[in-house]
Amino acid sequence: MPAFAALRQFPSSDPTSEAIVAVTPRKTRLISDSDAAIGSPLRKSPRFCKEGTPHSSPTANIRKCLKTSLNLSGSPQKKQLSEDFVERQNWNPRDETQRRAVNEALHVSTAQTNVVCRENEQNRILDFCKKCIKEEKAGSLYVCGCPGTGKTLSMEKVKAMLADWANEECIQYPDVLPINCTSLANMNDIFSKILEQNHSGKRRSHSTSSLQQLQNLYSQQTPGMKMILVIADELDYLITRDRAVLHDLFMLTTLPFSKCILLGVANAIDLADRFIPKLRSLNGKHMVITFCAYSKDQIINILQERLRALPYTVFQPQALELCARKVAAASGDMRKALAVCRNAIEILIGDSMLSSLDGTEDQQKSAENVSMSNQVRIDHVAAALSKVYKSPVVDTIISLPQHQQIILCSVVKLFRGGKKKDTTLGELNKYYVDVCKSTSIPPVGILELSSMCRVLDDQGILKLGQSRDDKLRRVTLKVDGADIVFALQGVRFFRNCLQ
């Protein structure tokens, strides 16, 4: 396995990533935190007790190396890896229960007991909440970050930690109201929900809106009122045309006797600033906590954390690393990383099914070979990754029906030279008929052509504008012309055309 061997060097010989890890103080702290967390329960090999986890992977190694002041060499690491494999049981993908366990461990919905790599953010949120509760003061916090960076998960965690803390300190635990703003039928429902939570037993009068009642409630002193912690997920769904709801929501926390701690969660980094400038002037120290996209190391860390509970090695470290690197480079979306891993497992299972069909050959394999074949290798991950990140344009174009290919060919010809960016359907038809005539293929009618263009529009290759008349609809190319040329080059017919 040349590829495998080559990549084995990869983690250690990548100075850039180390540099990143070494430079940012936050991440180093993170790592040391997680180191402490990782330690105890599943330790098997006494040899690594001092330095890390038994199944230390490249990251663990990097970690260790950081401690030893970046003193790195390739060979000990290789040794560790191979010994690691021996330590653990072999994973048998054909075993139903094992497969299920792995799938479950890697599923999005499976929440981990400890959310690694987000301790810093969690602590900041927790501190904020603690401070507010202690001082019985309202406050608002805005949490932003890309999708799949563990915002909602961290919120859950914070909720649990807060409950623990309140128990320990014997402080009255505030009412917690998690709301997902997408599930609100009406934006103003959020106020009535908060109000309901505030005094669940009492009757509501209907002369005033729930917002007004809340404002009244918070602008005069009422003794014995509990704090309320509102966690509003997907906050940007509250943006209305006049931004009133969002504004009112944040303004609630600025009222003199407000008991509302608001944690808003959304993707946009500047939502609070953009839409609530007034809030800034009133409450200068409005806190924003950003969840950065996961870095490569963090993704590896989380994946390992998830796989730790399993008594067998499923992924080769290199495979995990490849996955993490690719995902981190593209989006840093943890959901994607998990999906890739699961997909890779499925590919492996499919492979092993095929090989088990061969039968006899399988049995003759050496023990080492078997153990290797039962782990998810780099090629599996690469296949899964290509499913996600590879652009399907070329394949799609190759599999298109002939006439649609001719249309694309004529579009490319039309736009060649760069003077034109778009055309109309009528003009395209002219070109198309020309191409057809030059190759003595009977052209289809214009109605048929427009329906074919609509199909291409559906596939995201062309873009059709809106117009009253079919003939006047604007046609623009949505994929790169070079892609089309590349895809059609294989066919001699088109090669002549495109020349």
Partner: protein
């Protein structure tokens, strides 16, 4: 002069001596049986009162005198109490038959209305005399029953019917005619008859969950005749008051007020209820068996005609009525007899008691508020309300011992009515090969096998199985995309069918499957209620459904009974994209929650839908994609020939030709099948196999644009003008005609000479069409 006449009229009743009082009382006795109680004399009486009220200033002396007089007379009557009354009651004349009575009722409604207005004045004006004449009671104990205003009662409709006398309180089994006793009676949801569990054939061991319809009703619906068993000779089947009411042999009324007449008889003012059959629209499918309508029709009725209490309740009360018994009815709407219109009672009541009852009505208000908030979804809310009612009903029936199973009131749904299928063997003639071919080529025909999509089907199967087979069903999401006519939906459904058979065989755990087509939804949000209905069978409004679904798919609700995994197939997924994409977000967020057990399969045409969506949605959507590429010609050929297997109707070349032609343009299997079917139709009269020529003709028909055919037709129209130069008017007319069939694009005809024309189709097409026309050979020269 009018005044004097009125005076006369006024006098007639008051002149009445004690003797004359009797006919009046008899009139009143008629009244109870017919709800149109206002008999002529009663009208007179009332009118007279109104008159006194209307002209008090003009003739105060007279009116006061008259009232005094009448008061004196009343007292007289009191002095010799009418002992005759009981006998009179026994000989009360029979009312006219129901139909007639209804007519009469309508006639008298207005008078009843009028009298209502007049009453108020009457009370105020003549307080002193009324005290002596009529005594109003809040509560009356009459014949062992305690009645007060606001109670609902059964009222006799015919006095001669002897059956009215017997009034079994206990319902009997419809088969053995013995009362329930200790054994359980099960109530049929259709005919409301009670049955002993043992008396049924086959006997039931336990009360079934859900709807239950007795075998008699089932038989009746199937069009067979199955009579209920006849009671033994000499024993008459006793009908309960409820049965009589629902077969319009009794009235139900609400007591508005109670009083004692001057002659000592007790009267009450009745507000009638009617059964759905008596409304203008008749019984509708959504009417429940026990549903009544309150009318705005009033009448004064003698207390003697009251049989006993019944209980008419609002849907909310109806649901909570645990002690119900057989005499519980549901009333949600008021029926306006004049306009034949329905109003929800809750709304009416709220309007009436604007000020005073706000505090009591708070809860009602709330619910009303909620219902009215989404004015766009009015009808939907209505439906939701309807269903809430049904839910309550089903709850109720589980509480009551007699009605054993839930009643959803949907028994007479349209789906139950269907055309009868004519068995194949009744057809005299054997189908020819061609006919068979045509029928198998129909798009609607379900093929026995789906060739060429094996790979995709395996992928879908592994996807679903991978999710379902585990004890712990992990939510996942699959996006299926491909151009139209490539078998996306069909493959998924075929997989589901296969899985279904595996479930039946027991190798897979059961699951629920909900199929939704985005095109069939009135609005994207409606999908929530459709999903919820699919999962539970209850229809609720989408806002409520969203909340319920959120609760269902989040892990908080661990105690839920239904732990089956759920597969959600959404066809035309791209139509669910709303402005803020909240619908898609919610649907795709559910599978990522723990214990959701939800598998979403989305189907759409667009390849790049996930990329078009917000990143947070595509992140939740996962990476599972499945592409259905367009068919190539071998595949199309295989599809057609697999459909035509065993039928010798097409030449092999012909099939290949058709599939090649289609594959070159779109790869749409539907089209290929259509072409072949059309070719078979061309063949109709000849007894040969379909060949190239037929397919060619079909293809021409399908692919050749209609405008060319049209141009050919129009050219013959032009030929009528000959070669003579047409006048300007004709030219204009022709221009407009061409514009109408969109051959030309032209501006509106009002601009006449300045009208601009533009050819809508390429010049070449026109040339092609006109080139071969025989009538105008010279045209070709010009082109």
């Amino acid at each position: 002069m009018a005044e004097t006449q009125q005076m006369k009229k006024f006098k007639t009743p008051s002149k009445g001596t004690p003797k004359a009082k009797h006919p009046i009382s008899i009139d009143h006795h008629i009244a109870p049986q017919t709800p149109q109680s206002a008999t002529p004399s009663a009208i007179n009486l009332r009118r007279s009162h109104r008159l006194t009220a209307a002209f008090p200033e003009h003739r105060p002396a007279i009116s006061s005198f008259n009232t005094h007089q009448s008061a004196a007379k009343t007292r007289k009557i009191f002095e010799n109490p009418p002992l005759v009354l009981p006998t009179e009651i026994s000989i009360t004349p029979a009312s006219p038959p129901p139909v007639e009575s209804r007519k009469k009722r309508k006639f008298h409604e207005k008078s009843a209305e009028k009298s209502k207005d007049s009453r108020n004045v009457k009370y105020k004006h003549a307080a002193d005399r009324k005290v002596k004449k009529k005594v109003y009671y809040k509560k009356v104990v009459y014949d062992g029953g305690e009645f007060s205003a606001g109670h609902d009662v059964y009222v006799k409709r015919r006095s001669d019917a002897s059956s009215d006398d017997e009034d079994p309180e206990v319902e009997e089994c419809r088969v053995c005619f013995k009362p329930a006793g200790r054994r359980v009676l099960i109530e049929c949801d259709d005919c409301l008859n009670g049955f002993h569990l043992k008396c049924l054939k086959p006997p039931l061991k336990a009360v079934p969950d859900g709807d239950w319809v007795c075998c008699y009703c089932v038989a009746r619906k199937n069009g067979e005749v199955m009579e209920f068993p006849e009671p033994q000779a000499g024993k008459k089947r006793a009908r309960t008051a409820r049965e009589k009411l629902l077969s319009s042999d009794l009235w139900a009324a609400r007591i508005e007020s109670l009083w004692k007449e001057v002659d000592g008889t007790y009267w009450f003012r009745a507000r009638w209820y009617i059964i759905p059959e008596e409304t203008a629209v008749g019984r509708q499918p959504h009417n429940l068996r026990r549903e009544l309508y309150r009318t705005n029709d009033f009448a004064d009725v003698e207390m003697e005609s009251i049989i006993r209490h019944c209980f008419v309740m609002s849907p909310r009360e109806f649901a909570n009525a645990a002690d119900g018994g057989d005499d519980v009815f549901l009333c949600e709407y008021e029926y306006e007899v004049q306009w034949h219109s329905f109003k929800r009672i809750a709304e009416i009541d709220n309007n009436e008691n604007d000020g005073e009852r706000v505090v009591d009505n708070d809860a009602d208000w709330n619910s009303c508020d909620e219902f009215d908030s989404g004015s766009d979804f009015d009808s939907e809310e209505e439906a939701a309300y309807e269903d809430k009612k049904r839910n309550r009903l089903s709850q109720l029936s589980s509480l009551r011992p007699v009605a054993a199973n839930s009643r959803k009131g949907q028994i007479f749904g349209l789906q139950k009515i269907g055309a009868k299928k004519i068995p194949e063997n009744l057809r005299s003639r054997k189908q020819t090969d061609l006919e068979k071919a045509k029928s198998t080529l129909l798009l609607a025909t379900l093929p026995k096998s789906l060739p060429c999509r094996d790979r995709e089907m395996i992928e879908i199967t592994t996807f679903i199985k991978g999710a379902i087979c585990d004890e712990q069903c992990l939510g996942r999401c699959l996006y299926v995309h491909g151009v139209p006519g490539t078998g996306k939906t069909m493959s998924v459904l075929a997989v589901m069918r296969n899985l279904k058979s595996e479930v039946d065989a027991g190798s897979i755990r059961p699951y629920c499957f909900v199929e939704i087509n985005g095109l069939k939804l009135a609005s994207p949000e409606n999908i929530y209620s459709v999903i919820y209905e699919g999962l539970t069978g209850h229809r609720v409004g989408w806002k409520k459904a969203l909340n319920l679904l959120n609760a269902r798919f989040s892990d908080e609700n661990k105690c839920r009974k239904d732990t089956r995994p759920c597969i959600l197939l959404i066809d035309e997924l791209d139509l669910l994209v709303t402005r803020n994409q909240a619908v898609l977000y919610n649907i795709l967020d559910w599978p990522t929650r723990p214990n959701s057990k939800l598998i979403v399969i989305g189907i759409a045409n667009t390849m790049d839908l996930p990329e078009k969506l917000l990143p947070r949605i595509s992140s939740r959507m996962g990476i599972q994609r499945l592409c259905f590429g367009p068919y190539n010609f071998q595949q199309l050929q295989e599809i057609i020939s697999s459909r035509l297997k065993g039928i010798d109707a097409f030449e092999k070349v012909a099939i290949e030709f058709a599939s090649r032609k289609v594959a070159a343009v779109s790869g749409d299997a539907r089209r290929a099948l259509e072409i072949c079917r059309r070719a078979a139709e061309f063949l109709q009269n000849r007894k040969v196999m379909a060949g190239m020529a037929d397919v060619e003709a079909a293809i021409k028909e399908m692919f050749q644009a209609p405008h060319i055919q049209l141009a050919m037709a129009v050219s013959s129209f032009c030929a009528n003008n000959g070669e003579t130069f047409p006048g300007y008017d004709t030219l204009l007319k022709v221009g407009c005609k061409l514009g109408e069939c969109r051959l030309l694009l032209c501006e509106s005809g009002t601009r006449h000479k300045l009208q601009k024309l533009q050819l809508n189709y390429p010049n070449d097409d026109v040339t092609f069409a006109l080139k071969d026309s025989k009538e105008l050979p010279w045209l070709a020269k010009y082109i």
